[in-house]
Subunit: 320 residues, 6 copies
């Protein structure tokens, strides 16, 4: 576990901690001596650092994308805190806890996975239950599901975020269907479970969340179709029409063509899935922004949603 | 209560029932004798009718927009059923049950109103409770609320539809907030209660659902702002910021400018209200279309949503 | 082979030919006798027909969607030719040549298929060649490919249209790539071959071209991903990255999200495929409209393209 | 009155003047001594300033959002002028002329208000005249109207700008209606008067023009509806239909839903108001940009209008 | 001058008047005798007519697009008035007054032209005056200008409509510029004069207003550029920059790319021209719709503007 | 020919070469001495430079937009290479090779022009051949055509780029038309030749590619109409309809109104021209981006096309 995180570094504080090097540039002072400009990252943020002394020697020891141990002093430069480095050295990946470098869900992945399994095992439709089981028994998939983020930035963008979002959605579905009659709950639950599972391959998330080539060229929606087709083929007597309906849930869950669904939701269940998925993502995203920016009445501008958000008196009171 | 409804009239059936005349045109046959072409409406639909005999005499007795008693025979003409009228006479409005001419909610308006009142009296915020009470004690408003439709065609387009939609939305809100923390439930409930109340003045609904002039020129959203401002002024010490937040719920509930909200939802509660309002309307609208067109796998094209809907095997099975 | 086609029926002509019944409605004349209103279809168009005599007896013999032999006389009614039926009787499907009822390509499907196979066997990339072969050796697929239309109305909407369009596109690709360097021709050819193959399942085309349920709910693009994944799995050592690129050709070939591609073309080859596919479809569609409406300088309004087209003097001269 | 404005400060000039501090950051030089980086504003613009000496002592004396007296020297740094501060001290707001810090209209607010009153007192419709008078006799409102800007940046973004725009619009209306028959001039004038009055509460404009919370959450259009409803209620016998038409002018004046009007203009007068309002704003905005950037043929890019503007030879000649 | 116009024909009225035949179709009655269905047009509207007797003989005498003298009787058929023709015969074009068949402006074209000339001769800029004169002295152009409509349907769609719109626009410009300083009035006037002159070739308007081939393929905007280029070349020493600015007025007057202007207005004058042109067209169009539909509070739906219009009490009062 | 280009300058390298000065700013060091900050450009890119010594004296010798000879040393500053200038002096334009400062096509302009002439002389239509010849014999035009770029940034943005694009398009047309029947090849070739020729006046390209005033205010499309009208007038008996069709090719070649074509393509030839023009530009633009960024799998974000591009394994292999 890291001793000090970027977000906690204050002016004049001594620094001794692990970071990931995301940029490394050489410079020459007016006096002619070399120096290094670095960007250092951990899960709480990024900070700039300068190596003024022994820059050439120290610089030979590490590269961009390496983990390093940095010792130095925090100083203010042009109104921003940066680290004046006294010593820096490469650290082997095996000595680093990934969680220090990627933010992660506040909830325990195993507990979340258990709750999700319980909900889906409660379905009445034996074919859909069998489909869910085919994923539960796929250990590689389950391990990825417990770690994958739901996105790079927009909502649930942290380790375990995909599972957290999926579980929240399933619980939301269970509540919402109580209000209506004639909904095919099992179809809706399976749709909720599978709608984003392609994200386990759309992103790589070892040191930072990045799109994979497949993620860029095919997208999670198309990869989900492939994965689900594959699984269904392993289940005896899976009804063809049911398979089509499950895939339609996936194909249409973005809700409109311009958001990347090649088909509009054309069943009640697909319409509901689209709304609740979107709503769950937005609530998480807005709440997390409000939490991050406590103390101000208006959040900064949320680029994806095109607006600022207002905290409101009830929340202010609660936050004291 | 009417004896026979338009939707139930079959070829060759004798007809004797009350209708509203929505069109009345004179014609002359090739042989030179006059006849009448009528359109007759009740809550179940519209049908064409012809008066071939005594057209001149009978035609003097009634006009467009009158209720009439019609006796005759159902026949097929160009593939459609129409009524060949033998006798027709004006009927006084006092002898007509409005419900025969306007479709109405399947639920009892008084029971729905009582449930709505109970939910809103459960709010903790005394100011919002007082605001709700100011509506409950306004008898004129409550009477309108029990009768108003939620629209002309898109969703809940029948007497009591506004109340049915509002109540369903409140119950949905209560379920959804269980899934999240930090939501201002009372603000959300009051927003759900008030978001469409302007519709009691946006439409007239005595013989058919029509837009009023104010409805056309101002819209329900703007009228709601006026109504709510008015009510808030009658409540001592209503906090100004809370008033602003309630109005923001109304102002933003259509979710985007191009759908007629002059402001985007900028609080978590306003975002949730928009989604759940939209979802509740869509579910009702799609389910009612599926119900109306039982027997076909695909519904006819839903103009407002721009697509057909698929019934699905679960629903087919249930419907037998 | 039918003796007389709808498009050739003229006023006062005697009629004796086979048709498909697409509508059948009962009526009653003012005089009280029953009659039938029919719509009769063959590959050249649709025509209205009336059975005035023995309507009840004749009407019991056939239903909508049946093939029938019709004898009667062509007459003008309200400016349009219709058939006054003297005799009508059901004909067994086995006695009907489907090609009489669905328009078909002017080119021989076997010859087109042979040319397509030759082109694709000329590819240098052994993996892509193997992928193509996996389709060639799938007899069911090849039979469907030879019959499938490329659409219901927009372009190549006739039996064999999909193959005609695919072949034209491959030949166009071969010409275009001569003008540029550094294009991966084989990838482009395979993309051209596979970009629309899902249409063999998106449509049913036994008596008329209709969307299948899968076609409506999933779309041809998503079905192609499934089909291609399947085939690739049967080919040993197919490189994973190549598979991804082939699928990207399919996923992006509509060129933009609002036209149903969940991803934009992100390789030069995908960009080219999108343009040439779109261009080939448009040329066929416009030329066929000009041909159909010979004699007028402007075509009727082309709904899908949102404009009329101008014939131009060169074409007029050629058509003499 | 300030002695020296930001826009007039030149390299090497001694500085002694009042400013508003809009940013204040601490730094540490490589040598280890502290310094301050400031941003100083007045109505003519913003400038950067550095305190290199006695930074700690001087920095204790003032904060962001304070008015200060600054003595120092203008120098060039990276191609931009900045102030090297020798002395800086807080100044009490009572010793500051607000007009030095917010740009204001070139026209006298009292004279503009008088002209506006005269125009509106010339209306023939007694109800609309009474409505106008109800605003004239509201001293708080009239004081705000004389000071409010018409916007933050787009058009008339300075003290008195709202009144200047409103008056210009009324005069424009009077000219335009001469060209047409059958226009309800009084309705148009009242619409012109009221269409933006909500801006007196949409913005705060004490030290800088900022959106208020209500401005952000409700918008000026909705606030105008509230204000006008309020005033109308104080006028005996104000015809209900006239009230509706006045409000429609307000509700629709942005001209389209995507620009924030929940209803399209549906009377001739509302259509005219929308066009003339938009035109007046655009003319002011473009002319002020041309004036500000005298000497160049093309203005810089106007973000709100999405283009550059061309000065043209006539204007160039006039400007000499 | 025609004796009776379509708009004035009432049920049972005898008819004897001239019409243009716009459709002519042959039919056969159930009894086997031939009849003709016609559409007859004059400037006030279109009406259906039937020839039941001597149809074959009479039908040989005339064709679609001929002028005819029709004698018969007005009767009601399916709620619409139609003419039962007793006699019909071709009339030579030389015996027909075009104004009876095309609606025309209420204003005298010569008087309008004179007023337009006077306004433009008042310009101070000698080059622009010379440009205007080059059009005044072009007799062919002036004759067309006096007759051309401003459109097929949207605004000023009648003979002389182009001149009426142009003159109204010039007068509007003269009024509006009084309200602003620094506008190049002459440039604006010339822009107003020339912005639509291409319409004299975009439409043919001998018997009905139709698009010409050039009108369809090039559009009036592009034709104006050609015409103005041509004229400018005949004027000695016309400054090149001024020519460019005049053309920019034309090129940008539709105001946005999606309305067919390849460039946005980039001078103040071009911005003003776009607004006033659009406003003048809309006012005429709405007022004419209100006039045509006197008696109803709401007009029918205006397709081009996407809404109904409300008459308002002031207008109702005036109209009595 | 320049000795050293910006793109080749490396840290610590001595510099002695010619550049264009695009920015020149004065600064003062903390020590109080003056210095200069410059931006220097050649065809390969831009670089920053500093004059620390004798800044005042050297600075008097040259200005922005001058060509200069610079001697100094390349150093790293904040991670970027810049030039520390020791000597700098103005160089007369006559001593500078323009090609050193503007990028140019890899192909010989005379050879390209010759090929283009040959293709167009192969047309069968004598009128279109004459039209082409009227351009070939216009030496001023041909000289401009050989030098003009096809754009500022998007595609073929270098000297000779317009000719390179035009020629590539003509060759592409010749190949594509082999695949279809009934295309008017000559019309298509002339359209391809003329579709962008207005760009020779839309841009100035002496020292850098810039829009001219006419380019900004009229656009190349409108200027082409003028040029082509002019040329056609010099050709005896050029058929009017053919002239219209040629102009339609130009007017519609951007393919849609929002991309600046006032008319949609309404002939088959205009449709084809639009597609092939767009495709040729995109291929060049993407390939050049891939070439420039060799070594990375994904290109940087292409702003005009709104995406990154993927290199793909075939290209990677070829590039080694």
């Amino acid at each position: 576990m890291k001793s000090l995180f970027v977000a906690d570094i204050r002016e004049n504080q001594p620094v001794d901690s692990l970071f990931l090097v995301t940029a490394k540039n050489h410079g020459v002072t007016k006096g002619g001596s070399g120096y290094l400009t670095l960007r250092l990252l951990d899960r709480s943020g990024e900070i700039e650092a300068r190596v003024w002394e022994r820059a050439e020697v120290l610089g030979r020891e590490f590269d961009r994308n390496d983990f390093v141990r940095v010792r130095g002093q925090a100083t203010l430069y042009q109104g921003k805190v940066q680290i004046r480095v006294q010593d820096i050295a490469r650290v082997d990946e095996s000595n680093v806890a990934t969680e220090d470098f990627l933010p992660k869900s506040l909830y325990d992945p195993d507990a979340m996975a258990a709750e999700l399994v319980t909900i889906l095992r409660g379905m009445k439709n034996p074919h859909l239950r069998a489909l869910a089981e085919s994923f539960f028994s796929d250990q590689t998939f389950m391990d990825l599901l417990k770690r994958a983020p739901a996105g790079k930035t927009i909502h649930h963008p942290y380790l375990g975020g995909l599972l957290e979002h999926t579980l929240s959605l399933l619980k939301l579905i269970l509540k919402v269907v109580e209000n209506y009659q004639g909904i095919d709950v099992d179809l809706l639950l399976v749709g909720g479970f599978l709608h984003d599972i392609g994200k386990v391959y759309e992103f790589s998330f070892d040191r930072a969340v990045e799109y994979t080539d497949r993620g860029q060229l095919l997208g999670h929606l198309v990869m989900e179709i492939e994965i689900v087709s594959e699984k269904i083929k392993t289940i005896p007597d899976f009804p063809e029409e049911l398979a089509m309906l499950v895939k339609h849930m996936i194909v249409s869950h973005h809700g409109s063509l311009e958001f990347g669904s090649p088909k509009l939701p054309q069943t009640v269940e697909a319409v509901i899935l689209h709304y609740l998925d979107d709503l769950d993502g937005k609530i998480q995203s807005i709440q997390s922004l409000l939490e991050k920016e406590q103390g101000s009445r208006w959040t900064s501008f949320h680029r994806a949603y095109g607006r600022n958000f207002f905290r409101g008196p009830a929340r202010e009171e609660k936050e004291g």
